[in-house]
């Protein structure tokens, strides 16, 4: 993969662009919701494509936990050059992925400054995780929370049919 900085800059611009587009329209209430959805959908499609490419040479996954481990180790290392620091599960379909130094947030601050702006920059990554899982056969809902930059937690709830 090319230098990380390229993707980080592109990502910042994408977020800024989506918000600027939305600001030209009248309705301010719906603004945040539609922007976050747009970013999440972008991440979803990218996640699907990435998974296709990265699992080309892997053997089939045995179960959900195996898939989550692949996501935390291989996928995260390839995209963000590091692994997820902590994976917790309740063995009933809920997983919490904790990254203590999330690549897309390191440039913002190392504490509480700019905390309100952080969710915008996590939407794409949530979509990425959801797209990756969807292409591997797991429908899920992914949310992110951040309390202290640059560490953040992604919560994945697998939807069992």
């Amino acid at each position: 993969m090319a230098d990380n900085a390229l993707f980080e800059f592109l990502h910042m611009e994408i977020v800024a662009h989506v918000y600027k587009e939305q600001a030209t329209r009248e309705d301010i209430d719906k603004e945040r919701v539609t922007c976050v959805s747009t970013l999440e959908l972008m991440g979803f499609r990218v996640g699907q494509g990435l998974i296709e490419r990265f699992t080309k040479d892997c053997p089939t996954f045995k179960d959900d936990l195996d898939i989550m481990k692949f996501l935390c180790k291989d996928l995260w290392s390839t995209i963000f050059k590091k692994q997820i620091d902590n994976l917790r599960t309740n063995h009933q379909g809920t997983y919490v992925l904790q990254d203590n130094k999330f690549a897309l947030l390191t440039q913002f601050s190392s504490g509480k400054q700019y905390l309100e702006e952080a969710p915008k920059y996590l939407a794409f990554s949530c979509g990425l995780i959801r797209g990756a899982l969807s292409n591997l056969g797991l429908e899920s809902v992914v949310t992110a929370e951040v309390s202290l930059m640059p560490s953040c937690k992604f919560q994945v709830v697998i939807q069992k049919l």
């Binding site: 296709e52 080309k56 045995k62």
Partner: protein, 139 residues
Amino acid sequence: MAVCIAVIAKENYPLYIRSVPTQGELKFHYTVHTSLDVVEEKISGVGKALADQRELYLGLLYPTEDYKVYGYVTNSKVKFVIVVDSSNTSLRDNEIRSMFRKLHNSFTDVMCNPFYNPGDPIQSKAFDSIVSTMMVQAC
């Protein structure tokens, strides 16, 4: 050299199916459809063989009197099916595997194309040309 190549989506509908036009296409559609059952059986066998490291290549699915059908499934549950002529006995396992590898690579490229929506029929010319190189030349 294949007589028919098909790509089937996760939900078991065909994304791409192409056969040598001199023979009845309907017969190939039917053969591919019935081979799906065998594929499902092989995939569901994963849970039982615990220590087994599952491969993506499924091997010979079933032979009929005229044709042999080979299968391959990706991690995103997209299935590739290749039908070859039984009379062509010179085709070894390795060659079939390499055909599937090429198909998989080509499919990955289609997937990463931003103009392609997952789930739509495949219309990429690049994918078509890869498939043509693998098909029997129509006389």
